[in-house]
Symmetry: C3
Subunit: 228 residues, 3 copies
């Protein structure tokens, strides 16, 4: 099975480890044995000007996932929204009403569906590929989350080159290592069976430290700075 | 403390990783230091003809646990049902009504109790050993789950010998390794403190691969095939 | 950021692994990189005479944390109570009523606030340091929990010297090792990013064993005995 998935993660942090805004949406192609991505794409957000309501993320994810899926023609596309694995192209109002989610979630989805349902229907009509809202149960969505952390580290390196340093929060229980010519990352949850990723990056002249976010258990902070 | 426990797990999967039916009920004797089984028994189900409602599993588990308990005379028997550690022999209708579980759960247990309550009472009258519905809190129940995964791997090997290959899903966050003459397995959750198991098996002429189930995070898929 | 936190953990167990009472309240100073304590303090309870309602623990924790905070002057104090990170000095009745916790939780906090709110207000007036009820989200609270496990092991050694042996339950998913001259401990959850601790202890003439509590998954039992 060949699956495209997308997720958004990584946050710029202030001095007290509060998130200012999210950084990276990643889309990935995941193939058997489903432990890493064979292709990945990123779209960076502006963390200084970020809509933290969550709607920006899911829209960006759908658009980036469809872009990658047009190229690599997967069997299915997974989005990080836990509404029971439903096909996005079928999300009309009665279907949303019938979901077992909160009333607030229904309002959000009625709003989101205005853009996403036509996008998904058009994509399905052209390619036969379904986009499903499978959420946290999907391993490819988790791999996309790990890649959003890798691209967050890359963004932090570029930010530190210009501004001296950067402090970012990674997605849940994952680590990154900044190595010569690449950034490597992995899930810290062994129950996931060994999920990991890496991306090429210019890492010269950069130093870094990774440590637990003291205010948010199971999330790591990455600090990156210019070696004078 | 010497504890007998039973659990059911492992599923035959179709090509899209959907479960067709469950495979193995395992009963185990667990003794101090409570990390593995000193004795184990299996009863295989027919995954092509499986009642997925959950009632078949708990009945099979109770019967197999009692069978093993008659032999090894433990201090207590643990079943995988989370209804507060109550003794099964005491499950009459008013007691079930008073449980803090869903109405649906109460209907299921009124039905189950018809068989299990007399079984547990008879066993207790003869041996003085209680059968309790302790569920996920019990380490021996988790060890029984790991053994159901080991026996699922054994079943998959035998199925592959006849049919060329088998694709099975293991119980939650556990791994197996097919070694010369045996199958070894272990929990992937280090918080559990190192739970593991092994069973003898004829593993000659068999190849295998283990990888994350892409549709169900924290569950592994085992593929087994005949080395022609 | 320099954070003081406190937590209570470790239980004396009877022969069937049932808790008799809690053993140790630990307060810790945690500094960047937030993986262990740079200073720790303990107050032992009497497990044979312990109020298991939970009110004794939070009171002991607040008092011990303030004691340590007076010495080491942290930026903030974290307590293990999950009521949304609220400042304890602001806990008057209308504020407690407005918390999104159970009615029972509100009654407990109205009672607790009688002692803790004046303590926190006085401490804040004198030092400017806030005491916040951040709970499980705090890494320093988790490190305090690990230290309560270390001090529980120390208590068990002293108890075994007098009485021959001791059987104690450690806080959730952590391990300890009794080494020459010290007790080392660590979280068993790798998602936490490598939290650990150690304390000096006279460990001569002591033998020990660590194993999973068969009745409470993800909790370890420590047995300690005198090498006659
Ligand atoms: Mg997401
Ligand atoms: Mg079960
Ligand atoms: Mg506590």
């Amino acid at each position: 099975m060949r699956i495209v998935a997308a997720d958004t993660g990584g946050a710029l942090l202030d001095e007290e480890y509060n998130p200012i805004g999210l950084i990276a949406t990643a889309a990935v192609l995941v193939e058997k044995p489903y432990r890493t991505a064979t292709v990945s794409r990123v779209r960076y957000a502006d963390p200084f000007n970020y809509d933290m309501s969550g709607r920006q993320a899911i829209r960006d994810e759908a658009v980036l996932a469809v872009e990658l899926a047009r190229e690599v023609k997967p069997d299915v596309v997974h989005l990080d929204s836990t509404i029971g694995g439903i096909e996005i192209r079928k999300l009309d109002e009665p279907t949303i009403e019938a979901l077992s989610i909160t009333d607030r979630g229904k309002e959000v989805w009625k709003d989101l569906a205005k853009d996403l349902q036509p996008l998904a229907r058009k994509f399905w009509e052209e390619t036969g590929i379904e986009i499903i809202a499978i959420g946290k149960s999907s391993v490819p969505v988790r791999i996309a989350e790990i890649y959003s952390g890798l691209y967050t580290a890359k963004w932090a390196i570029e930010y530190a080159r210009k501004n001296g340093e950067a402090v970012v929060g990674l997605p849940r229980y994952m680590e990154v290592k900044i190595l010569p010519g690449e950034i490597a990352g992995a899930s810290l949850d062994p129950r996931e069976g060994g999920l990991f990723g890496k991306i090429p990056a210019d890492t010269e002249g950069i130093e870094w430290e990774l440590y637990p976010n003291p205010l948010v258990r199971r999330f790591m902070v990455l600090e990156v700075w210019r070696k004078d």
